[in-house]
Each structure stands twice: as structure tokens, then as C-alpha cells.
């Protein structure tokens, strides 16, 4: 049985086709879906804040007592300052950056792992499929938060932002993997798969040549959802006190605001800034993923037009 890609040229060709298809989907969705456009604009603002604006910070906003504490929003401190003497605005831009990094790492690791595992399980079938699915189902049902908390507590001394992304990945692959397998199973009986098998393509060949193009739009939706899931998981861990409390992430900001009873003491700007930012990120990502999934489901596309 042959494996794909057979030569380096083939590999480049497939990569090219994949990229072309990717940008086609992107342009088409951008043109047809308003939800996607709105989501993309909000998300772009967040990226600008997190990546570009954050680098103009005049000081390291994580450090305590660099600015006078407990100041309400003013021209000097646009979003006020915290009890720890941190500037909320600069802290927020750094937090957006770190939270996005965590989301991105999880999306890169977990959703691709889930994608490949799901496709292999579905395409190969038999005993391997059954064992993989029993594992996946158990991971879906295990309550992820207590297990994540346990892991984060045990790794507290060596925790970094990328490691946080990796740990959250442990619980972000099973659900996509299940969905991908279901899609592959529904494709498996189609005639072109039989053609592929008789043409001598192996499991890997069929996975990349036949199944992947069908699953690609769904995979894009899943990528955005995974970013969303990872950012909210980190925030959840932070709220309960097991994130990296000396770092700047959206969750850690909320943690310190709660820890110092910001609302009770009237320092509303401290708590509400990260909360609104998180909501904006979530809604924008959800709109983006909704735009892509409406596009990839022809029945819904028809409904939207009609």
C-alpha cells in the first residue's frame, strides 16, 4: 500500500491545494456572512490591543506599586488602577496577549490531535476504532475542571503560559475527535472512497486525500471553538486560584479583583474591564465560528437566503 505524500513535490502540491481552499472559504464566508464580519472586526481589535498596543507599555504592568493604587478611570489612567498599584489598561493589554497565546497553543495542539485521531479511528475501523472511542468517551464524561485543577496544583512550581495551554489541551481533543469520527463514518460508504481503496491508497492516503477536504470547514469552526474553550478554562482555573498568579492573563486579573473584594470596595473598573473583554472575545469568536459553520452547512445557507 502506498502512503501519501509519495514525493516532496506531492506534499507541496497538497499543501498548496489546502491553502488555496482555505483562503477561498475565508473570502466566501467574509462576503456572505454578516456575523462573521462583525466577529472578525471585534477579534481584530482584540489582536491589535494584545499584540501591538501591549508592546507600547511604558513599564511592565505586572509589577506592583508602580502607579498610585485604587484610582478611578481618568485621562492619566484610562481604566483606573488596582489596589496592587497596577495600571488596569496596560495590564489588560498584556492579559489579552497571554490569554490569546494560551488559546492559540491549545487550538494548535488539541484540535489537530483530535482531528487526526478521529479521522484515523473512523477510516481504519475495527478494534482500533473501538478502543480509541471508549477512551474518547470516557474523556468526554470525566469532569475536566477538577482534574485540571489537580494537575495545575501539582505543577504550580513549574507552570508557564505555554504549559498552561498544553495542560488545557488534555481535555480539548476528545469532543472534536468524536465529531470527526462520526463525519468520517458517514463518508466511508460513499463511492469515491471505494475508488480510493481499489486505487491502492492506504489509510493515511484516504485520510488526507479524501476525508480532509470534507472536514476542513468543520475543522476551522472547531479551531475557533477550541480557542474559546481554552481561554475560558484558563480563566476558570485562575478564578479558583491555580493559574500563574504572578502573570497577566484575563483570568488572573479577575482573580485579584475578587480576592481584594473590588466590587465590595467600589473599585468596579478593576473587575468589569477583564469581564467585558472576555465577553467580547467569546462573542467575536462565536460569531466567527457561526459564520463558517453556516457556510459549510448548505441547508442553513439556503435558509439564511430564503
Amino acid at each position: 500500500m502506498t502512503l501519501i505524500p509519495r514525493t516532496g513535490v506531492d506534499a507541496l502540491k497538497f499543501l498548496g491545494i489546502g491553502l488555496a481552499r482555505f483562503s477561498n472559504i475565508f473570502l466566501e464566508v467574509f462576503r456572505t456572512s454578516r456575523a462573521f464580519r462583525v466577529g472578525l472586526v471585534i477579534f481584530a481589535v482584540m489582536i491589535v490591543l494584545g499584540v501591538a498596543v501591549s508592546s507600547f507599555s511604558p513599564f511592565d504592568p505586572r509589577r506592583w506599586y508602580l502607579v498610585p493604587p485604587n484610582r478611578p478611570p481618568s485621562p492619566e489612567f484610562p481604566l483606573g488602577t488596582t489596589t496592587n498599584g497596577q495600571d488596569v489598561f496596560w495590564l489588560l493589554t498584556w492579559s489579552i496577549k497571554n490569554s490569546l497565546i494560551i488559546g492559540l497553543i491549545t487550538a494548535m495542539v488539541a484540535s489537530h490531535f483530535g482531528l487526526i485521531l478521529g479521522m484515523l479511528a473512523g477510516a481504519r475501523g475495527g478494534l482500533a476504532d473501538r478502543i480509541l472511542m471508549i477512551m474518547t468517551d470516557s474523556f468526554v464524561v470525566i469532569p475536566s475542571l477538577p482534574t485540571l485543577i489537580l494537575l495545575a496544583v501539582l505543577l504550580r512550581d513549574v507552570m508557564t503560559i505555554p504549559l498552561m495551554g498544553l495542560i488545557i489541551s488534555i481535555f480539548s481533543w476528545p469532543w472534536p475527535s468524536r465529531q470527526v469520527r462520526a463525519m468520517v463514518l458517514s463518508l466511508r460508504e460513499r463511492e469515491f472512497i471505494a475508488t480510493s481503496i481499489f486505487s491502492g491508497y492506504g489509510v493515511m492516503g484516504r485520510v488526507f486525500r479524501d476525508y480532509l477536504p470534507f472536514i476542513l470547514p468543520w475543522h476551522l469552526v472547531n479551531l475557533t471553538n477550541t480557542v474559546l474553550f481554552a481561554i475560558s478554562s484558563e480563566a476558570a482555573l485562575a478564578v479558583i486560584g491555580v493559574s500563574i498568579l504572578s502573570e497577566a492573563t484575563l483570568g488572573v486579573m479577575i482573580y485579584w479583583a475578587l480576592n481584594y473584594s473590588a466590587l465590595f470596595r467600589g473599585l468596579w473598573w478593576w473587575l468589569i474591564s477583564p469581564v467585558i473583554t472576555i465577553i467580547l472575545i467569546f462573542v467575536s469568536l462565536f460569531l466567527i465560528s457561526k459564520g463558517i459553520s453556516d457556510y459549510s452547512n448548505p441547508r442553513l445557507r439556503w435558509q439564511a437566503r430564503g
Binding site: V140, I142, T147, V153, L154, A236, G241, L258, L263, V275
Partner: protein, 335 residues
Amino acid sequence: MSKLLIFIASRIVAFVLTVVIGVTVVFIIPRLLPYNPVEAQIGFIYSIGQFYDPTAIESLRQTLYELYGLKGNPVEQYLGVWRRLLTLDLGPSIMSFPTPVATLIGIALPWTLGLLTFSVLISWTLGNVIGTISGFFNHKKFSKLLTGVAVVLYPVPYFILALVLMFTFAFLIPIFPLGGGITIVGVGFSLDLVLNLAKHAALPAISIIIPGALGWWFLSSFTLTSQKKTEDFVRYAELKGLPNGVVLRRYLIRNILMPQTTALGLALGGIFSGALLTEVVYAYPGLGRLLYQAIINNDYNMIMGISLLSILGVSLATLLLDLLYPLIDPTVRYR
């Protein structure tokens, strides 16, 4: 063997597998670490500087070694974890040494269970009813409005919404208290006591009900209904001249409930996690609060106990829900 028996057996097997895999994951984690967590903690207790009964410390050390699965050979270690879990003997808590972990969890559990059962039942029922009705009339204005609300609510996690609600209804418009489970513990049972409990539970409950009812359960039942209502059996019912109410109740809701029950089973873990965090936000005296205190006090024993019990509890709840399934799906009951 009848279909029903096969169904029940397969669900029980799935439950056992989940618990075994979950506990095994918790068993493996501490062994991958480069340092010995048990001695680190014993050192932590000594570093507080108080005098403890040496036999109590020794019993704590034994418990920790067994709970972390670090005592004897690997097989003994693994069986030790299971023995501790099945007899609910989770050893002493470190932050309230030497009160057993099981006792503290026993005090916190009713708060979480009460809050969770009440809110999940309400949000699931409400969400499905509203979602099915809006899906049936999906061109009306109110259903477009509700869908818009759901799109914003759906991706936002419970605890973030809890923070927004707390800001609005305890800070801007102070109707509800900022946190806590109860203010005055009166003597005996009285109306005041019930009202006080309800007032403190209201915001945490609403924080769990709203995102479920108007977000997740609404969106999924809305989508299911809009798809189902284009199917032939529904068209036939409408062409027969049946009133909308009958089509909704006898044709649509029944078909929506089955997938939605399965979805509830799969979502329980997430809802449970959400409830834990909501409790932290409102300082509600349930398991979440206990877990939070355990984390800031480095009480690994308690964290371990709560993690193991959550895996057991959520899987058990999912199993019970699965076993109720034949009551609503007739195709499982008969051959």
C-alpha cells in the same frame, strides 16, 4: 436477552469504564512529577510551626502515600487508591487538621447538590420549552430576538455571567447580597431562615439557569425543532388541520426530548464545573468554596478528595440519567 437489558448493561459498563479511566488518570498524574509531593506537604505542615500529635502526622503520611498511590509496589498502590475511594476514607484535611476530608465534604455537599439539582432542572425544562416553541414559530419576531440573546449568552461561561449579574444586581442595583450562603443562623426552622437562604441562593441559581435556559438548551432545541418541523410527519399533522398546540406537544416535543436528554448527560460534567466556579464567585458555602479554600491553603488531600469524588459523582449522575432514558424512548423498551 431483551433490548432493554442490553441497554442497561452497556450503560453500566460505560460508567465503570469512565470511573476506572478517571481514577487511573488521577493515579498516574503524581507519578509523573519530578518531586515527592507527600514529603513536600508534610514539610509544609511542620513549617507552620504548630505542634501536632506525631501519630496523627504519621496517619496523615500513610493516607497521603496511599492517596497519591506511592506506597508499596504499583499493584498495591493502585488497589490502595480504590480501597480509600470505595470506603470514602479520604484521610484528614490539612487546612482543618485533623478533621477528616469526608466530614468537610459532607457539610459542603448538600449546598452544591441543592443548588445544582434545582438550577439544572429549571434551566433544562425552561430552555427546551422556549426553544421548541421559538423553533416552531421561527419566523416570528420574538424568536429572532431570543436567538440573538442566545448567540451572546451561549459562548459566555457561567462564572463570567455570574460576575456580570453580581455587578448588576448586587452592586449597581443592590437587591441581592454580594455573597455568602446565609447571614444569621437562627435557632430552629423559621420562615425568616428560608427567606434568607432563598435570597442568598437566588443569584447563584440564576447564574446557572440563565446561560443554560436562554443559551445552550435554547439553541439546541431551537435548531432541532426547526429541522424536525420540515419533516413529512409534521407537515402531515399540520395538513390534517391539527392545532399548533397539539403538533407541538404530541409531535415535536417528544422528538426533541430524546436527543436533549442525551445532551444533558454529556453536559453534566461541564455544568458541575460551572457550578463550582459560581460558588467561588458568590462565596457560596458549597464544594466549590471548599475547593477554593483548599487551594489557597495548599490542602492537597482535600483537592484530591474532591477531584476523585467529582469524577465518581458526575459519572453516577450521568448513569442515572441514562437509565431514565427508556422511559422517554419507546424504541429502547421494546424489541
